[in-house]
């Protein structure tokens, strides 16, 4: 005898309900936390206490919340850049490297120094740093883009390899030319190279004291708006979308794919480079090792979780900022990676719900 109900799986022919992608993403995140809790229990931890601690560490106070936004800032910029590249089915996994090179280029302004740090207006210095950061990241994105367009070299591998190269490159300068008295970091930047923070205005507004939130987040939000406009309102955005959806059709339509691969890679890299600038100028105030806590890779997840939508990227990067802030408080330290991996896995698995319809039907009612 057969079961009274059976699962019927059909390819979706009609439009996906608008709420469904959001619902599956949220469901995936909740499920990821449940699974992580299970793992914690298995290895002898207390998941409820850990997650409560987690929550408090991220949202427990204004200071914590500001930390979350500070951590979300590089993720947002990188997530936007990765999302743009992914839209064209270009796998830029190299944001980590582009971030480091961007930070290095931006740091040249106060370290060399390229301009007189005492007399030049702060605005000019910061603008130079932002532009150089974008230039550095953009050039570093140009390499895999060019290799892909010219020699058809897998951009996944080339960007990953360049990540390692960038870290060694930075290390060389931190350990030698720019080293602060032999320490593995550069001297602190002059104050004029610091992005303004809310804490700087503590004298005027008492509540701002100790709040580390800096101007970088504004870069992120402006970038999100610009990318949204490019993707939905411009001819270039239309070309990028077309190449991503159907490269064959794009070629027939006379779109220069080579040029677009290189341009998108450069813009993607420039955003990661800007993230690097925002981090050294807004948070660390010097160049040192490990300025990135895996932002480059988390950015990939952020972009995917946001379904490549610039505004959703803002939300998702906030969530991941919270994960990072809370993650550095809890042991074991790998839990943070694990939760990230689980979330991403569940999200891509849940995409099947968008493509297929699952229905429980009475066995008798069929045929």
């Amino acid at each position: 005898m057969s079961a009274p109900y059976r699962l019927r799986i059909q390819k979706r022919t009609e439009e996906v309900p608008r709420w469904l992608p959001m619902a599956t993403s949220i469901g995936a995140i909740i499920l990821a936390f449940l699974i992580s809790g299970l793992i914690l229990t298995i290895i002898g931890g207390d998941p409820i206490r850990t997650f409560r601690y987690f929550f408090n560490a991220a949202f427990g106070s204004w200071g914590a919340l500001s930390d979350v936004v500070v951590k979300a800032t590089p993720l947002l910029l990188i997530g936007l850049g990765c999302g743009l590249a992914f839209r064209m089915r270009l796998w830029n996994i190299g944001a980590e490297g582009q971030f480091y090179i961007g930070a290095f280029f931006a740091s040249l302004v106060p370290l060399v120094p390229l301009v007189d740090m005492q007399t030049t207006p702060k605005f000019i210095i910061l603008l130079m740093m932002a532009l150089l950061g974008m230039l550095g990241g953009g050039l570093y994105g140009l390499i895999p883009g060019w290799l892909k367009a010219k020699f058809n070299v897998s951009e996944i591998i080339s960007t990953l390899m360049l990540n390692y190269v960038a870290v060694f490159w930075n290390n060389y300068w931190i350990y030698s030319e720019f080293s602060d008295a032999g320490f593995q970091m550069t001297p602190m930047f002059a104050k004029s190279a610091w992005l303004p923070r809310l804490a700087d205005y503590a004298r005027e507004v008492k509540a701002f004291s100790g709040i580390t939130l800096h101007l970088g987040v504004v870069f992120g939000i402006i970038a999100a708006i610009i990318i949204w406009i490019i993707m939905t309102r411009s001819r270039w955005g239309y070309e990028i979308n077309l190449i991503g959806d159907n490269p064959q059709a794009a070629r027939y339509a006379g779109i220069d794919i080579t040029r677009n691969i290189i341009l998108v890679f450069m813009l993607s890299g420039a955003l990661a480079g800007l993230a690097g600038m925002s981090e050294v100028s807004g948070v660390v105030h010097r160049l040192q090792e490990r300025i990135s806590t895996n932002y480059g890779f988390s950015g990939v997840i952020v972009a995917w979780l946001a379904k490549l939508n610039p505004f959703a990227t803002i939300l998702v990067s906030f969530l991941f900022g919270a994960l990072i802030v809370a993650g550095r408080e809890i042991q074991p330290s790998g839990l943070y990676f694990f939760i990230q991996g689980t979330i991403l896995f569940l999200v891509i698995s849940s995409d099947v719900l968008l493509r297929y319809k699952f229905e429980l039907v009475r066995a008798a009612s069929e045929e």
Partner: protein, 320 residues
Amino acid sequence: MSLEIILRSGLSTGTILLFAAIGEILTELAGIQNLGVEGMMLLGAMAAFKTALATGSPWMGLLAGIAAGGLLSLAHALVTIHFQADQVVSGLSLTFLGTGLALVLGEGLTGQNAPLIPNVTIPLLARIPWLGRIFFADQNLLVYLGYLLIPAAWWYINKTRPGMHLRAVGEKPAAADSLGINVYGVRYLYTFVGGCLAGLAGASISIAISPGWYSNLTTSGQGWIAVALVIFAQWNPLRAALGGYLFGMLRRFMLDLQGPMLLFGLRNPFFYNHNLVFFLQMTPFLLTIIALVWGSASARRQRIGAPGALGTPYVRGERG
């Protein structure tokens, strides 16, 4: 710095890449690209080390490492084969997942000493002048396993019936399906086998060739190099082995470059300015890119491409 030492050590560290790359070749030949090699290796390395420590037996450790890599790969198989998820994203998530899991479960293993897979000398072969000392004297047991795996994998892929089925599934899944080959089954199988070999590669780091658990520095990007090696090798195990060994030799050579005060009769810059070593450390990664440029160019000349269906999910009844 001696040629003999460089060659010996290249064979031994190259074995790690060899296992991982041959595993990935088998997976990709079935049409599944698994970028999670780094994660599977790290999990394998952790599982092997932890089990060897707990049971006192390196053999149990080896099995655990292989199983860990294999089990993790099944997540990728399920998501890409049944749920038709994007293979690139799924592979990346697998790396996060494997890394995270390995770091969580590997807490506190650093600095411990686990029992190791022994080094052995092959009695007669080791007496071959010069070559014997390099290939067959005092190498790790897994290095010899590597020697055997290379021709075995080549023969299996090119000369056997299941090997033909494997290539058919990766090249034209619909045609394979119509011949009665179970496409999903084959893809699951080789994703799993690839995972097992990645796990073996991880285990061969932590309990054999460069023993110890150093959290994510244990693999330090070798999984990614293995993935690159597959493209460079044009899905041929013989070329993958050659590439792996060459890479191993290169690493040793760069280590040796830092030692002497004089290099080829000149002042050794790496000895006098130790920071220049950072540039040495970049070279394997830069060389990988150069190898890829060269590999893709020669592949195009000889019209050798990736397996036809690499990266595309197979759905019965959809398209031809």
